[in-house]
Symmetry: C2
């Protein structure tokens, strides 16, 4: 029962345009319809929402909490594909199966929408079709940004991560991180120790403050952006 702001529910107001490209899929016009088609489901901390290779019968929208998608390689290395925050959509596939697994990072409420319903609707309403396409394209953008992160130095990756999270967080300069250092490490392709050390470095160079381990204050965006290459 959180009181976080979320996308307009049942209101008549709609986001206009939608030329903004980055950030994960938050759908426009479709937003309201989707609310109607979905059922809200609670997931406990670390609960699996779906597994890799399972049939993708549903897609999902975070109402509150946070979700991670990931793959585990044969030797146990885990790669986090993305973090999904309130308003974000995840689990949308064009193929039959999910290509990642998904878990709640913290206690979360997630709207569950039947894919069939939406795909059927799309075949009649080309605006819906366009929105589905746009959601996949947004996800593609995210993945491409992720690739770019992964070729950078540790400082650049962490700085990039913080800037990205800041963009998506409500309060512009203070970030509340729902995920652990291990999650961040697995997202950035680093170890937990390197993430920790890098945060300490950034703190020492006055680029950020870390009042508590899950709370980060951006004190010098310019410095972070400079690191962002």
């Amino acid at each position: 029962m959180h009181s976080q702001p979320m996308t307009a529910r049942g209101s008549t107001q709609q986001p206009v345009a939608r030329s903004a490209r980055p950030a994960p899929a938050t759908l426009g016009t479709l937003g309201n319809s989707i609310e109607l088609m979905g059922a809200a489901m609670p997931f406990a901390r670390n609960a699996e929402i779906y597994g890799e290779n399972e049939p993708a019968e549903y897609l999902y929208k975070v109402v509150n909490g946070a979700v991670r998608t990931y793959k585990v390689l044969s030797d146990g290395r885990r790669q986090i594909g993305g973090f999904y925050l309130p308003g974000d959509i995840f689990g949308l596939e064009v193929g039959d199966d999910h290509t990642f697994s998904a878990e709640a990072i913290v206690e979360s409420k997630v709207l569950v929408i039947k894919r069939n319903t939406l795909v059927a609707l799309a075949s009649r309403d080309n605006e819906v079709a366009r929105q589905l396409w746009a959601m996949t394209a947004d996800e593609l953008q995210r993945a491409q940004g992720h690739i770019l992160l992964l070729i950078k130095t540790a400082q650049e990756r962490v700085a990039g991560f913080l800037l990205e999270m800041a963009t998506r967080s409500t309060s512009a300069n203070e970030i509340e991180l729902p995920m652990s250092r291990q999650d961040i490490a697995d997202y950035l392709g680093l170890t937990i120790e390197t993430v920790s050390r890098t945060l300490t470095q950034l703190e020492n160079s006055a680029a950020i403050a870390v009042p508590s381990s899950r709370r980060i204050v951006l004190r010098n965006r310019a410095a972070l952006s400079r690191l962002n290459a």
Copy 2:
């Protein structure tokens, strides 16, 4: 004037199904329609096809040759987003602008298709709409696979790259690489030296043979797959 095999041009034969998910966008039903809508254009080795942030008026299909897409970071590091071979489609955007630049790797012929035409068609024909969506989804899959590559060791990246190229190449066990070591390095997030050394290691361990620098024979797929984690 190459004599490489290429996709059926102007023939009536069509690929069936299209449930296969990996590999870059090679479109099904749409294939022929696209041929009709596009004009074939020649590009010289290293010629720019489009630049990052330019309006995405067209999308492209490789007829022969090879194309790379890439971004250059402020400090000069280059990341190659993908390689496109005959039959592959690239440059399809949902947003207004191209997010990468594209260049011909070798002398290439590329079909150029007006995006407007296709998008307009999609708004009337939902099968076309679905195909556009599927192409973007294929590209997403590729990007996600790329992310997975970038967290691996040098051997794993190179092995993964070779296996991927083998899948896409006509002759199953012999690969003809159109791109330089530098291109491969920038795709894999390694240096040219590391790529070269790794190929030598793979050759010494009898996993591959390298009869000439642009020609690789897979001699032990199992070994490569094992490296592929």
